[in-house]
C-alpha cells in the first residue's frame, strides 16, 4: 500500500474510522448497543459518532441485550444495515436467540427470500483479575452455527477492512475483537477498503514450522517467530482472520512446505475453532505432515481472578516458542 494515503492508526481507531466512513457512505448503516457513548465500554472505537450522526443512528441502550440485538436483526430485515455492539461478549449470551435462532436461520428457512445484513460486534475484554464472567472468548459458539460468518481481526488494517466487509456483507457477521489488541498501531489506508471474509493471510514466511494464529494469538505468533529467527528457526505465521469460514487452503499450502503445524487461539481447547482447523488439515493434508499437529489454547477452565493463577491461565508468545522448540527437537 502506498504510504501517501495511509497513516499510523491504532487498532481501536481503525474500527472507529470504519464506522465513520460506512455511516457516511451508506445512510442505512446504524449502530446500537450498550455504552456507545462511553469509553468504559467501547474504548475509543465510537469516538465522534454521536456528534456526527446523532443519537438517531448511534444509539446507547438500556441493559437489554436480547431485545436490542433482536431489534438490530429486525431493522436489518427492514432495509437497514445494523451494527449491534456488545462491549463484553460475556453479556452477549443474553442475545443468543436473535443471533442463533433468528438471524442465522432467516435466509435459509425462508428459501433465500430475505437476508439479514447485521453485524454483531462482540468485544473480548479480559485480564486484570476480572474473573470468569468478564473474560470469555466465545468465537467457537458462533463458528458452530450455519448462517453466521465470524471474523477476528488481529491488526489495525484488518480491524478496519473486516469491519467494512462485515457491514457490506448481506449476511449476519459476528465481528469479534479483543481489547488486548486496541493499542497496536500500523499504517492504515485512509480510503474505504475491504478485507475479504474467509481469507487468511501469511504474516511471515518460513520453512520449518507453520504457526496458525487467531486474533490475539496471531499477533503473539509473529512475536514468537521473530524471536525464533534469532535461534535459526524459520517459522511461517498465518493469521486466520476469519474463523468461519476457515481458510484451510492457505494452511495446507503452508504445511506442504513446512510439514509441521501449531494452531494457537486464546480460547478454551475443547470444541474450539482450532479444533476445527486441526480436523480439516489432518484430513486433507495428512500426507504433508511430519509430526502431529499441536495446539496452544487456554485450559478448559474458567478465568481465575487471583494474580498467579491468571498468569498461569493465559498464553502468549513464550508458550509458542516453547512449543515450536519442542516440536522441532522431538522430530
Amino acid at each position: 500500500m502506498s504510504s501517501k494515503n495511509s497513516r499510523k492508526l491504532s487498532y481501536s481507531l481503525a474500527i472507529n474510522e470504519a464506522l465513520h466512513q460506512m455511516m457516511e457512505f451508506d445512510s442505512s448503516v446504524f449502530l446500537i448497543g450498550q455504552g456507545v457513548k462511553s469509553p468504559w465500554y467501547v474504548g475509543n472505537t465510537c469516538n465522534g459518532l454521536i456528534e456526527k450522526y446523532s443519537e438517531k443512528r448511534v444509539i446507547d441502550t438500556p441493559i437489554s441485550e436480547n431485545a436490542i440485538t433482536g431489534a438490530a436483526v429486525g431493522a436489518a430485515l427492514s432495509g437497514m444495515r445494523s451494527i449491534a455492539v456488545h462491549p463484553r461478549i460475556d453479556f452477549m449470551m443474553y442475545a443468543l436467540d436473535p443471533i442463533i435462532n433468528q438471524a442465522a436461520n432467516w435466509s435459509y428457512m425462508f428459501g433465500g427470500k430475505v437476508s439479514v445484513p447485521v453485524v454483531i460486534w462482540g468485544i473480548i475484554n479480559r485480564g486484570g483479575e476480572q474473573g470468569a464472567q468478564h473474560s470469555q472468548a466465545l468465537q467457537a459458539l458462533f463458528s458452530h452455527i450455519p448462517g453466521l460468518k465470524v471474523v477476528m481481526p488481529s491488526t489495525p488494517y484488518d480491524a478496519k477492512g473486516l469491519m467494512i466487509s462485515a457491514i457490506k456483507d448481506d449476511n449476519p457477521v459476528v465481528y469479534i475483537d479483543d481489547r488486548w489488541l486496541y493499542k497496536i498501531e500500523e499504517m492504515v489506508p485512509e480510503k474505504i477498503y475491504s478485507v475479504p471474509i474467509g481469507k487468511g493471510v501469511i504474516r511471515k514466511r518460513g520453512n520449518d514450522v507453520t504457526i496458525a494464529g487467531i486474533s490475539y494469538m496471531a499477533s503473539e505468533a509473529v512475536k514468537a517467530a521473530n524471536e525464533l529467527e534469532k535461534h535459526n528457526i524459520s517459522s511461517e505465521v498465518i493469521d486466520m482472520r476469519t474463523v468461519k469460514p476457515l481458510d484451510i487452503d492457505l494452511v495446507l499450502q503452508s504445511i506442504k512446505k513446512t510439514g509441521r503445524l501449531i494452531v494457537t487461539e486464546a480460547a478454551w481447547l475443547t470444541g474450539s475453532v482450532s479444533a476445527s482447523i486441526v480436523a480439516e488439515v489432518q484430513n486433507r493434508g495428512f500426507k504433508y505432515l511430519k509430526a502431529p499437529i499441536e495446539r496452544i489454547c487456554l485450559p478448559d477452565c474458567p478465568a481465575p481472578t487471583s494474580g498467579p493463577l491468571e498468569k498461569e491461565y493465559y498464553i502468549n508468545s513464550n508458550d509458542i516458542i516453547l512449543k515450536v522448540k519442542k516440536l522441532l527437537y522431538k522430530n
Binding site: 438500556p62 441493559i63 443474553y94 476480572q130 474473573g131 468478564h134 477452565c301
Partner: protein, 325 residues
C-alpha cells in the same frame, strides 16, 4: 422505636460495610489490589436493613456491587478481604474476586456481574423452599440497570404465579454505569413494574435504614405466610463511581454526574443520618460511636495485614474446582 440491640446491630453493620469499602481505596490506588471493585459506599442502609431480618437458612443472591450484600448476610469480613487480594483463604479461594463472592454457611449463595444474571437463581431457591415446605425466604439484589433485562420480568411472573417466597430488592442508585435512569427508562417507575404481576411493590428511601428494616420485616412475614413475592425499590445513590474509587464527577475522565448532585446526596449519607438518630435518641453517645468505629477499623486493618501475607492459590491447582471431585 426499635430496640437498642437492633439499632446498634444495624449501625455496626452499616459501619462495617462502609469502613470495609473505604479500606480498599488505598490498596487499589497503590495497585496492591488489581481486581475490579464496585464500591457500595452510600448504599449500606439497604443491605444492613434487609440482612438484619434474615436468618442463616434464608438465602441471598447478588450482583457486581456485592460486598455489602455479602457482609449483611453473614459473610466473613476476613474472607472477603482475602478474596479481593486473590488469596487461597478468600471466600471463593481466589478464583472469583470481588464480583464473585459466596458464603453458603450463612445463606449467601453467590454474587455475579452478568446483569440480572442471579435473579432467576433466587427464584429457584424460593421454589426449592416451596417444594420442601420450608418457611424460608430468598432475596434477590439487583440494580436499576437490571430492570432492562427480560429475565427480571419472566422471574416476576413465575414467582408470583407459584407464590414463591422471594423478595426482589432493586437498589436504584439512579445510574446504570454511565447512563442516568431517564436515559434507560421511559418512566422513573421501577417499583410499579411488579404491579401487573400482582406482586405487592413499594418504593422506599434506601438511605433510611429503619425504613428498609421495617419494610423488609413485613416483606419476610408476607413471603413466609405463603402469599408470594414482594418487590421493594430502594432509592439510593452510590457516593463513589461505578467501578473503583473514582467518583464519576462531571469534568473528569469518567464525566457523568453533576458535582451538585453528588454534594446533595452526601448530605443524605445513610450513616450520618442514622448517627444523628442514634445520638438524638440516646442509643449511642459520641464516644461510643467513636469506639465502635475504632473497633471495626482495627479489625479491618488486621485482616488486610493478614491477607496480604497469605498464600496465593498454587498454580498447579489452576483447574481445581472446575468440577466437584
Amino acid at each position: 422505636m426499635q430496640s437498642k440491640i437492633i439499632l446498634k446491630k444495624l449501625y455496626r453493620k452499616m459501619l462495617q460495610i462502609r469502613l470495609c469499602e473505604e479500606s480498599f481505596i488505598i490498596p487499589i490506588l497503590n495497585k496492591e489490589i488489581r481486581c475490579p471493585i464496585h464500591l457500595y459506599v452510600g448504599e449500606e442502609a439497604i443491605s444492613a436493613g434487609i440482612g438484619a431480618v434474615l436468618n442463616n437458612k434464608d438465602v441471598m443472591f447478588s450482583n457486581h456491587r456485592s460486598h455489602g450484600h455479602y457482609l449483611s448476610k453473614g459473610g466473613e469480613l476476613k474472607e472477603l478481604i482475602a478474596e479481593i487480594y486473590g488469596k487461597e483463604t478468600g471466600c471463593s479461594r481466589g478464583r472469583g474476586g470481588s464480583m464473585h463472592l459466596i458464603y453458603p454457611k450463612t445463606g449467601f449463595l453467590g454474587s455475579a456481574p452478568i446483569v440480572s444474571g442471579t435473579i432467576s437463581l433466587a427464584v429457584g431457591s424460593a421454589l426449592s423452599f416451596k417444594i420442601r415446605n420450608k418457611k424460608n425466604v430468598a432475596v434477590s439484589f439487583f440494580g436499576d440497570g437490571a430492570t432492562g433485562e427480560g429475565v427480571l420480568f419472566e422471574s416476576m411472573n413465575f414467582a408470583s404465579l407459584k407464590k414463591l417466597p422471594l423478595i426482589f430488592v432493586c437498589e436504584n442508585n439512579l445510574y446504570a454505569t454511565h447512563l442516568q435512569i431517564l436515559e434507560t427508562h421511559a418512566k422513573d417507575n421501577i417499583w410499579e413494574m411488579a404491579k401487573p404481576f400482582g406482586i405487592p411493590s413499594f418504593r422506599i428511601d434506601g438511605n433510611n435504614v429503619l425504613e428498609v428494616f421495617e419494610k423488609a420485616q413485613k416483606a419476610v412475614k408476607y413471603c413466609k405466610s405463603g402469599k408470594g413475592p414482594v418487590f421493594i425499590e430502594c432509592i439510593t445513590y452510590r457516593l463513589m463511581g461505578h467501578v473503583g474509587p473514582d467518583d464519576n464527577i462531571q469534568g473528569n475522565h469518567t464525566d457523568i454526574r453533576p458535582k451538585k448532585e453528588i454534594e446533595a446526596w452526601k448530605k443524605r449519607d445513610p450513616i450520618l443520618k442514622f448517627e444523628k438518630y442514634l445520638l438524638k435518641n440516646n442509643v449511642l453517645n459520641k464516644k461510643e460511636i467513636e469506639d465502635v468505629k475504632n473497633k471495626i477499623q482495627k479489625k479491618i486493618e488486621e485482616y488486610h495485614n493478614i491477607s496480604i501475607k497469605e498464600e496465593y492459590p498454587l498454580t498447579k491447582n489452576l483447574e481445581k474446582y472446575v468440577f466437584k471431585k
